[in-house]
């Protein structure tokens, strides 16, 4: 059979149950003054103070070795922290990329000196990372990357442009995907990854890209003969493609792929309470069933990663189905409640709905577009 296995996730252990309760109490305390509108920012809320509190309490670098500041917990325990943050609308932006993908990439490919320099500070919630992959002419087609890094003694001289880097204006570092030999025609060959200091790199300028909601998350990073120390090469020169694919696998499987609009569901239920109709109950039931099943699929992927199984196909399915789910919520809400969304409204429902409608188009673009993901799934089914 061609069935795509999604192994049953193990039942929550006593440790996991205790961790969830303890962490919910932590979030209640940390987020007491956070408004519904702020919570609806979900994983793109940015607050260094919250990230430091997370680090101090031991909730970052959960699965990493203790020698690098980690806590040697299981993938499931990390999954609890991640999903509870998202469900509560915690401002995770300042540690999100570092904890999810940059740190694990450094742990996997970095030198001992890099591990010691970066990982403890990420786990402490002090070091914030962005992503340096897409370019103006190379979005989904990452292998067409043109940004060039030329070795010159003990530095790389970097020239090129990266786009869509969330929080480059706030963060400390990016992992830059670039070409260290050959041309874009060489595709996967000759690519590498560099750790680039966003605050102290001569020749690097960062410009905002304002999104349709008028918000400044995205940036353009322009490298003009910028100097990066050669010891900031991550992994092996020329192995950038395999490394960046591994980094993307961390990016595609998590619960942020179906929880982005969860605050709208919370506010919708608040509005419906006491005036719910049969239609409202049925609709909320359908949505809840979809959510529960997506959560199970995501936990199944976490279990596969814990067992070091290849879950690229499963992760692509979760992200594809998950993005459809989170993008459908505003449309479903609009079928139940007449309300004009207003990004500056004082009221919870109108402002949350506005934020979700404005931001939802990006959810099937980030981390691989819907079209790219379906290509990955089709290849996994053996069609090409």
């Amino acid at each position: 059979m061609t069935a795509i296995p999604f192994p049953a996730p193990p039942a929550d252990s006593a440790e996991v149950i205790a961790l969830r309760a303890e962490f919910r109490a932590f979030l209640d305390q940390q987020l007491a003054s956070r408004t519904p509108r702020q919570r609806s920012d979900n994983w793109y809320g940015y607050d260094r103070g919250f990230s430091r509190a997370m680090g101090q309490a031991g909730y970052l670098g959960m699965t990493w070795p203790k020698q690098y500041g980690g806590h040697e917990r299981s993938a499931f325990e990390r999954a609890v922290i991640v999903e509870e943050c998202l469900a509560a609308g915690a401002p995770v932006g300042a540690h999100w990329i570092a904890d999810r993908q940059s740190g694990p990439s450094i742990l996997k490919f970095g030198t001992e000196a890099q591990k010691q320099a970066f990982l403890p500070r990420i786990a402490a919630g002090e070091l914030s990372f962005g992503i340096g992959m897409s370019e103006p002419d190379s979005g989904s087609d990452l292998a067409a990357t043109r940004t060039k890094a030329v070795k010159d003694g003990d530095v790389y001289r970097v020239t090129g442009t990266k786009v869509w880097t969330s929080f480059a204006h706030e963060a400390d570092y990016v992992i830059l995907f670039c070409r260290t030999s050959g041309t874009p025609a060489d595709r996967h060959m000759g690519t590498s990854q560099l750790l680039v200091d966003l605050k102290n790199t001569p020749g690097l300028t960062i410009k905002p890209i304002i999104d349709l909601a008028g918000q400044h998350h995205f940036n353009e990073m322009h490298f003009e003969d910028a100097i990066v120390p050669a010891d900031m090469l991550l992994g092996e020169e020329g192995q950038g493609w395999d490394q960046v694919m591994s980094e993307l696998a961390f990016e595609r499987s998590g619960p942020e792929r179906f929880l982005s609009s969860i605050e709208l569901m919370v506010q919708l239920i608040e509005v419906l309470k006491g005036r719910d109709s049969d239609a409202a109950q049925i609709t909320v039931g359908r949505v809840t069933a979809r959510l529960a099943v997506l959560r199970r699929l995501s936990r199944s992927v976490a279990g596969m990663l814990q067992e070091h199984q290849n879950a690229n196909l499963q992760a692509a399915i979760v992200k594809d189905v998950g993005a459809l789910f989170e993008q459908a919520l505003p449309e479903i809400a609009r079928e139940l409640i007449d309300a004009e969304a207003d990004p500056r409204a004082a009221g919870a429902y109108a402002s949350v709905l506005a934020n979700i409608v404005h931001n939802s188009p990006s959810w099937s673009l980030r981390g691989g577009t819907r079209e790219i993901l379906r290509g990955i799934i089709a290849r996994g089914l053996g069609t090409r």
């Binding site: 795509i4 809840t288 959510l291 099943v293 699929l297 290509g375």
Partner: protein
């Protein structure tokens, strides 16, 4: 192990002629005898209850195989009925059994009478596990006659039964009587979608149009990816319902059942479209699965009642209580 035995049995004894006979409403006694000999009707029971103490994964695999072979006998129904009968402390079915709830029956002078709507293979069953109010009855075949014929979308019989029975086997109803039926249907749906995806991959690989196999077209690949997504959701939904049934959590069953019902419709639609006109015929085996998917998604409570049950609980939980409710499912 069990999965291999079931697969071998179906490959040996369940051919297209048997499927066609079942669509004419004919009972397949030889196949039932083999199923019974294998012990499948007891697959959801613990060892204490007279079963084999199968793991959750093994029982689920057996149920999925009933779906992926479009099993034209009420095996899944008998498994669910026996589970409920055993939990209530009533004797198990000795042959094929049904599972139903009927709340508008009359009880007078120790007799139960009235109509039970649309019971799969009702004429051929040995007994019926019947929930009325807070009681479960084990009604023997002598306790009913067929009131009205009925036919499912896959052309298997769904007669309505006229009951007139002197009650001699009753117990307190252990839990929601339709939960077991909804759960076995979710597994069958997952199995049928697995078969439908397999067939769709095979068809689009071999069918050449405009000089290339269909599945070399990106638009076809994307539909296959969507079908794989529905299969993934149905598989996880069935497991969600199965685990919830084991701990008697009716909301978890509602969530799993509801999502599997949704996948049945969406998946059948993609599979048929990708087959083109041949998928709309009885010449191609796809129809065994699409017609069964359309049947199963509406049985043991429909999607309206299960979604309403879950949705009203979610709204009662309130905004702040919503996520904790979801993580408990």
């Amino acid at each position: 192990m069990l999965a291999e035995m079931i697969t071998r049995l179906f490959e040996r004894s369940l051919d297209d002629a048997a499927q066609a006979a079942a669509r004419e409403g004919q009972w397949l006694p030889a196949l039932w005898a083999e199923v019974e000999e294998m012990g499948l009707p007891l697959a959801l029971l613990t060892e204490d209850q007279g079963g084999f103490g199968l793991s959750f994964a093994e029982a689920g695999e057996a149920l999925r195989l009933l779906g992926s072979h479009a099993m034209p006998l009420p095996v899944a129904e008998t498994m669910a009925a026996n589970q409920l009968l055993a939990a209530a402390g009533l004797p198990l079915a000795e042959g094929p059994s049904g599972l139903a709830r009927a709340d508008d029956l009359t009880i007078s002078n120790g007799r139960l009478s009235g109509t039970v709507a649309r019971v799969a293979w009702g004429e051929q069953l040995d007994c019926l596990a019947l929930a009325v109010g807070d009681k479960l009855y084990r009604v023997p075949r002598s306790g009913w006659s067929v009131a009205e014929a009925g036919t499912a979308l896959n052309f298997h019989p769904r007669p309505s039964l006229a009951l007139d029975w002197a009650i001699d086997a009753e117990a307190a109803l252990p839990w929601c009587p339709l939960a077991g039926g909804a759960t076995v249907r979710a597994y069958q749906i997952a199995g049928a979608l697995e078969a439908a995806l397999e067939m769709t991959l095979s068809h689009t690989a071999t069918r050449v149009q405009f000089g290339k196999p269909l599945q070399k077209n990106q638009v076809v690949q994307h539909e296959l990816a969507k079908l794989a997504g529905e299969l993934a959701c149905a598989t996880a939904a069935a497991d969600l319902a199965g685990e919830a049934l084991a701990r008697r959590d009716v909301l978890g069953v509602a969530a799993g059942s509801q999502r599997a019902r949704e996948a049945a419709g969406a998946g059948a639609s993609i599979a048929t479209q990708m087959h083109g006109a041949i998928g709309f015929t009885r010449e191609h085996r796809l129809h065994l699965y699409t017609t069964s998917l359309w049947t199963w998604r509406d049985e043991f409570g429909g999607q309206v009642s299960w979604a309403k049950l879950l949705g009203s609980a979610a709204i009662d939980a309130g905004g702040p209580g919503y996520w904790p409710m979801v993580t408990a499912l």
